[in-house]
Structures are given as structure tokens and as C-alpha cells.
Amino acid sequence: MNELLGDISRRDFMKYCAGAAAVLGLSELELFEKVSEALASSSTKPPVVWLEGQDCAGCTVSLAGALNPPASALILDKLSIRYHETIMAASGYVAEAAYEETVRAGGYVLCVEGSIPIADDRFCMIAGRPFRRTVEEAAKNAAAIIAVGACAAYGGIPAAGPTGAVGVGKVVKNKPIIHLPTCPVHCDHLVGSILYFLATGTAPPLDKVGRPKMYFGETIHDNCRRRSYFDNEMFLTDWNDPEQKNWCLYEKGCKGPDTYADCAVRRWNDGQNYCVDCGAGCMGCAEPEFYSGMSPLYTADSKRSRDIMARKKAGLIPPLKEEA
């Protein structure tokens, strides 16, 4: 079995698709076999077109952080990356020719990183073309569309600025879009969604705002290891105090109760750490309202934080039950 998936072991695969098997009504083994078959039966690697608009390349860098399977296996063995400004060898017209050929042929996975300015096309021009038009055009023949990261999903931080930055869904209508917010994208979410699509030919089941339920089904707060401190209203106020170091970060602006994402379970960077564990708190980057709707970030002095507290007081965020 391992051979068919090359560098991707069954365990790794389940890490990406945890929850997906259940949603599909398959056992984990069945799902894994399905993916293996799909990958083995196609003689060519699935082509990928990756467009960057108003981005910072952070999502690309995040993908390059994938160690299991390694990014090198993804880039060279698993996918055929036809166009990607940050990693491709070609520049200028050589790059553009590769792009045009792939788009003409169709059937590729389209990844969009970065938001799209709609206030004036000239805020993002690549190869002399408005980025908005490139996205519209590339979407037409795409087999699947993935909005990679908060900016491409919902506009992200640029949405708070003057360029009229929006997510892909505001430009591409009538096509399903897999939304993978968080700022930047979590590499597991991206790799897993692509694998899922390759295995089934469809997008994973999505929630109301287009995010895969397998990654965005529960809140940070529900899985937070500081949770009992929240329930007991023990909030960290001084980062120097070793006694407080595991307390709840509500006072420091944590938006975990309003944020659906699996960071608290999955963690970041091969499990090394993540936003809440490092003492900073969750900034809500997986939500469509990010960033304006979460600001100010590092203090509870926001409408949202006050609202969270009001809900807590009203018993709407009940304490976690002790597990038996």
C-alpha cells in the first residue's frame, strides 16, 4: 500500500484526512485505498496552477514547510506544478507561455493565494494583466479551485485596506471553492484537501462559509488546554509570572471561542507550537470576519472580546464537562 502513495504513509494520510472518512461513510482504510488507487491509476501527475495576487507568499512558504510528505516529494513527485511565480524556474514570457498552455488544456487544480483588488484593477497587475481577469480566466477550465489562506478565502488583512480586496468567491461565481483560511494556510490543510480531491474527484464536505468540515468543525476554545482557566476566570495578565503561564489568554485578546479551526489539536510546524500555546492567543484568522472583525488583536478591548465575555456570563459558553 505504501508504495502506491510513494512517500505518503497511511498514518500521514490519516493525519491529513482525519474526519473525512467518517463524513464519506467509509472506514479509514477504505478511504486510504481509494486515494492510493486514484493516484496509481493516473499515469500523469495532476497539474497545478498556482496564482499569487495581493499576497505575501506566506502560504507558499507554509506549504514548503511540509515535512511529511516532504515538500520536495509534493513539488517533484506528486504534483505537476505548471505555474507558480515563487518556485518555478522560468521567468517572463517563458513563464507566461507555460501558464497559457496549461489553462488551455484544462483539468488542473487551481490554487489562488492572496486577495483580489476590485477597487481598481491596477492595484495588482501581473505580466501586464489585471489579476482579477487572470483568476476569472483560470477558474473556467479548472477541475478544482482552492482559495489558499485567509486573503484568497475572504480578503484577509488587505480587505481592511483601500484596494477593495476580496476573496476568490467574490470574483468566481457558480463554481465550488474550497476555502482554506488561516493566515497563512496550514500546510496539512492544503495537502489534505488536494489528496482528498485526487481520491474522490470532489471537494471535501464544506461548512456554511466553504471550509472543509474536517479541519474547521470545532472551535480553538473547545480543544484548548487553557480551557479550565477560562471556565474559572483565571486570565493571564503578566507574561513574566510563571504561575500564570498556562492561564487563559482572554485578557490578551484571544478569540478562540469564536474561531473554528483545528490548530489546538493539529498544532503548527510539525506539532512544535501554536498561537495559543506560545502565550499570544488566537487571533481568529480562520474566520471570514478576520482581520477587521477581530481587531484589536492583542487585548480584550474589542467588541468581539466584550461579546465573548457577555456570552460567557449568560451561560452561552458553558464550562467543559470533566471527562469521566
Binding site: 495576487g53 524556474a89 495588482c124 488583512i157 483601500p162 507574561w239 507550537n273 502565550g279 487571533m283 484589536p296
Partner: protein, 520 residues
């Protein structure tokens, strides 16, 4: 007759950049560098809680995110009057050190090496090494299946390209190994940075990650692996190329430019800020035999918008910076502004830092005949990576000692609330060069925010005095024998490690205009 060619997009850089060159008799005669994307970040910060700034400005660039956070928290430290405890500085330094190590490795192997290699030479490898043969198999397999993306298409290799099969195949193997190394370096940074890309733990007054002995031990173990790679692979590779097949490019001084260098300085080695891994300083009109470094004075920085898509204005100091887009302006060709030091364009980045530091290894290369330019830039980048690896060991040890002291602190809690009003400047060095953030606070909110970033220095267009930007100047005289294959153009640009997203500025959302305020 002169022929104009435009390379757009320049790939394998962060952000969107186009370059136009005029070629005459096989050489570049003139050049224009143009940033082609804008997001308006500084504008969206206006009116926000100042403590949002490090988080938001981190998104200037997803490649060198933490340095923006760092420059931003330093600007806030300054404006809030926060005194970062030494423990907080050590944590910041370790997170930042990891970022430099990852960033330099990524740049050399993944963003630039392909410009110097004839990848297809691996097919001619007939050595016995198992690992190398696996690489050969992989690349030959890709060629056979007619799917070599993203290694091709490419500009065709030229007479300077490395074609020796052993050398090329080793480099390709290191390209693959380095993918894991850069990822691991970033995981190392996440120990104190929280997660990456985009650290979460750097805040005004210090750092949020309370350290324990296990974390330091983990960091050290991961650092050992990085040190081995840097010392045994990265530096030898760069030197083998630079003093071997690429020496003609080094001797020719391809991509030299103005020979003006600027470093703001970064990575303090002691509590009083006396000693730095990267000292600050300015060199104008470098004479490699006798390097004269002058001290750096922040007041001498101005930004020109003469050839930017901004409403015309006189050059201003960043504190007074104001930008109103004018997308129809005649003669404008970039979203990048043109910073100048005492009116002059400057190169910033590893080469500038190592020259200002009078680093003996870099000076040694120059003595051997390598002129400052493309090859020296790659060498300086590798050499300073080692300086940071060594410094990280030192900071780990110091942190362990510091942690055991009673009253160990990582944060200045007394200065976490924004002041009613104030201003602050934060200077630092990004992997790509000198980075400055400036903030003005009014009614506890951001009144103005400006960043002058390394790629603005390097990629800037012309200014009032018509001085070309550093990229533009570096391109002059570059050999382009075949205008359909301008490989030297991309070699030069990429040697600076461009990152353009951060170089591009703003407008005000509502009024389309930004309030100007005088420096008090």
C-alpha cells in the same frame, strides 16, 4: 540598435516585479525596475490599536515575516517607552536567528541556484554514489515522462552556467536536502515564535513565550543539525561555485551597482547594545582596498516619489511620509518609492552588512579578485548565516543562565498600554537588508505608520536627481548576447533576494488622502 526587453514577472522572488532593460551591442544600456502590486497596508493601520501593527506588518512579507514584526515591536518599544528585559531580547534574537538561517538557505538553493545550473547535466552523471544516483533517476524520470515542471521551462543555460555533471547533481541533491533544512529551521523558530510563517509571540515590551529548559534543549538540538548543514554543505557549495565555475562572473563584477552600502545594524550581543552581530554603518563609493565606514544617522533618510505612481511631492523623511496614489501619473513606472541616504541610492543586504562589518572572509574573497556583485552577494549571505548560527548557541547558553536568576523577565508589563501620544522608530536588518518602521500615535491609536523596507532601497526607481535605483544601476553593462534569453538580468535581480510585496505602499481608504503632520 538598442532593443528593449521586459521580464515580467520575475519569478522565484516574493512579490511582483517587472524589469525592463535596453540592450545595445549585447550589453544592458539602461534599466527600469517596477513594482506592480499594492495592498495599502500602512493606510489600513491608521486608527488601529498600535499593538496590531507587528501582526499586520508581518504580512508585508511571508518570507521574511518576523523581521517586520521585529522592526515593528522596536518602533512600539520606542514609542511606548518600553524597556525589553534581556530575557525578552534573547527570545526575540533566537526566533529571529532561526528566520535568517531558514531564509538564506531557501534563497540560495530554491530561489537562485537554478539560475546557475544546467539541470539536465545530471543525466551525464556516472558516479557510484547511491544518493546521487537516486537524484539522477528522479530527474531523468521527470524528463522521460515529459513533465519536468517546475524545473523547466527556464531560460537556456549560457557560457557561465555550471555543466559539470558531478557538481550539478550534487547541487540538485542539496536543493532537495535544503527543502527539509529550511522547513526545520522554521520549526526551530516556532519554539519561541509560536508558529510560522508569521510569528505570533513578538509583542511590544518583549515576547509572550515563557521559556523552559526543554524548549532551549530542543532548540539547541535542532540548531546542531542546522550548523552541520551550514558549515558542511551551504558554505562549501557557495565557495565551490564562487571560486570555481562562477569565478568569471565574480571577477567581472556582474551586478555591482553604485557601490554604496547601508546597514542599520541588528542582533545585539550584550545588554547595553554595544556589540552587534551586524553593526550599523554607511559606505559611499566603496574602495575595497580601504573601506571607510561612517556612522549611520536616521535623519538622513528621505523617500522620493518622483517616478512612483504617487501624487507628486518633495522627498520626505519617513516620519512625514504621505502617499496618495496617482495611477495616471506621467513618467511614473513603479509602486515602489525611492529611498535615498543623503540623497544617494544605497545597496542594503548581506553584502552591505558584511562590508560595513569589514568581515574578513568577504574581504578575503575580494582580495582574491572577486568584485562586489552577484557572486559576492551570495557569498556574504552564506558567511553571515554562520555568524548567526554561532550567535544562536551563545544566546541559548545565556538564556539558560538568565532563566535561573530570581525575577527572570521576558516582558515589560508596565508599558503594555499604548501612550496617549508618541512616536517611535524601529530599525533592524531583514535577511534582505536594512529595515525601518516608523509610528506616530495619537489618542492611543495609530496616526501614521511608515515602513522603508530593504527591497524599497534596492528596487527603487529613479529619484529627482535621476540616480537609478540599485537594481537598475547593477544591470548596466550586464552581458545579454541573446535578447530572448536574458539570464544575466534575472541572475542580478535575484542576487539581491527581492521581496516586493513589502516595498509597496498605500492610500487612505476614505479621503484618498493622508493627513500630513509635521515632526514635532
Amino acid at each position: 540598435m538598442a532593443k528593449r526587453i521586459t521580464v515580467d514577472p520575475i519569478t522565484r522572488i516574493e512579490g511582483h516585479l517587472g524589469v525592463t532593460v535596453e540592450v545595445e551591442n549585447g550589453k544592458v544600456k539602461d534599466a527600469w525596475s517596477s513594482g506592480t502590486m499594492a495592498r495599502g497596508f500602512e493606510a489600513l493601520l491608521q486608527g488601529r490599536d498600535p499593538r496590531d501593527a507587528p501582526y499586520v506588518t508581518s504580512r508585508f512579507c511571508g518570507v521574511c515575516y518576523s523581521v517586520h514584526q521585529m522592526a515593528s515591536v522596536r518602533a512600539l518599544d520606542d514609542a511606548f517607552g518600553a524597556k525589553v528585559p534581556w530575557g525578552g531580547t534573547l527570545l526575540r534574537n533566537l526566533a529571529m536567528g532561526a528566520e535568517f538561517i531558514y531564509d538564506h538557505i531557501l534563497h540560495f538553493y530554491h530561489l537562485t541556484a537554478l539560475d546557475y545550473l544546467d539541470i539536465m547535466a545530471v543525466a551525464a552523471y556516472n558516479g557510484k554514489d547511491k544518493g546521487l544516483n537516486a537524484v539522477k533517476e528522479k530527474v531523468v524520470g521527470l524528463v522521460k515522462s515529459k513533465d519536468t515542471f517546475p524545473l523547466t521551462p527556464r531560460y537556456e543555460p549560457d557560457e557561465f552556467s555550471v555543466r559539470d555533471p558531478d557538481m550539478v547533481i550534487t547541487a540538485v541533491k542539496h536543493y532537495i536536502d535544503a527543502l527539509a533544512m529550511q522547513a526545520k529551521a522554521r520549526n526551530m523558530g516556532a519554539i519561541f515564535g509560536g508558529r510560522q510563517p508569521h510569528y505570533q509571540s513578538l509583542v511590544v515590551g518583549g515576547c509572550t513565550q515563557y521559556p523552559d529548559v526543554n524548549m532551549v534543549a530542543k532548540f539547541r538540538t535542532m540548531l546542531d543539525e542546522q550548523a552541520k548543514f551550514v558549515n558542511e554543505i551551504y558554505i562549501p557549495d557557495v565557495l565551490a561555485f564562487g571560486t570555481g565555475p562562477l569565478f568569471p562572473l565574480a571577477k567581472m563584477g556582474l551586478g555591482g551597482g553604485h557601490y554604496n552600502y547601508l546597514s542599520y545594524g541588528a542582533f545585539e550581543l550584550d545588554k547595553n547594545g554595544k556589540q552587534w552581530v551586524f553593526p550599523a554603518g554607511v559606505i559611499t563609493g566603496l574602495n575595497p582596498g580601504k573601506i571607510k565606514v561612517k556612522s549611520f544617522d536616521p535623519d538622513k533618510i528621505t523617500e522620493s516619489v518622483k517616478y512612483g505612481w504617487y501624487k507628486d511631492d518633495k522627498p520626505r523623511h519617513p516620519y512625514e511620509g504621505e502617499q496618495v496614489f496617482d495611477l495616471d501619473k506621467k513618467d511614473a513606472y513603479s509602486f515602489v518609492k525611492a529611498p535615498r541616504y543623503k540623497g544617494r541610492p544605497m545597496e542594503v543586504g548581506p553584502l552591505a552588512r558584511m562590508l560595513v562589518a569589514k568581515n574578513p572572509d568577504v574581504l578575503g574573497l575580494i582580495k582574491k579578485g572577486a568584485k562586489p556583485g552577484v557572486v559576492a552577494r551570495h557569498a556574504a549571505r552564506a558567511i553571515e548565516t554562520k555568524l548567526l548560527v554561532d550567535a544562536c548557541y551563545r544566546w541559548c547558553d545565556e538564556l539558560l543562565t538568565e532563566m535561573t536568576k530570581p525575577g527572570f523577565k521576558i516582558h515589560d508589563t508596565a508599558h503594555y498600554e499604548p501612550p496617549e501620544k508618541g512616536e517611535g522608530a524601529g530599525f533592524y536588518e531583514a535577511p534582505r537588508g536594512a529595515l525601518g518602521h516608523w509610528i506616530k500615535i495619537k489618542d492611543k491609536k495609530i496616526a501614521n505608520y511608515q515602513a522603508v523596507v530593504p527591497s524599497t532601497w534596492n528596487a527603487s526607481p529613479r529619484c529627482e536627481k535621476k540616480y537609478r535605483g540599485q537594481y537598475e544601476e547593477s544591470l548596466i553593462g550586464a552581458p545579454v548576447p541573446d535578447v530572448d534569453n536574458p539570464i544575466n538580468v534575472v541572475r542580478i535581480i535575484r542576487s539581491f533576494d527581492p521581496c516586493l510585496a513589502c516595498a509597496v505602499h498605500l492610500i487612505d481608504p476614505q479621503s484618498n488622502e493622508i493627513k500630513r503632520f509635521a515632526v514635532e
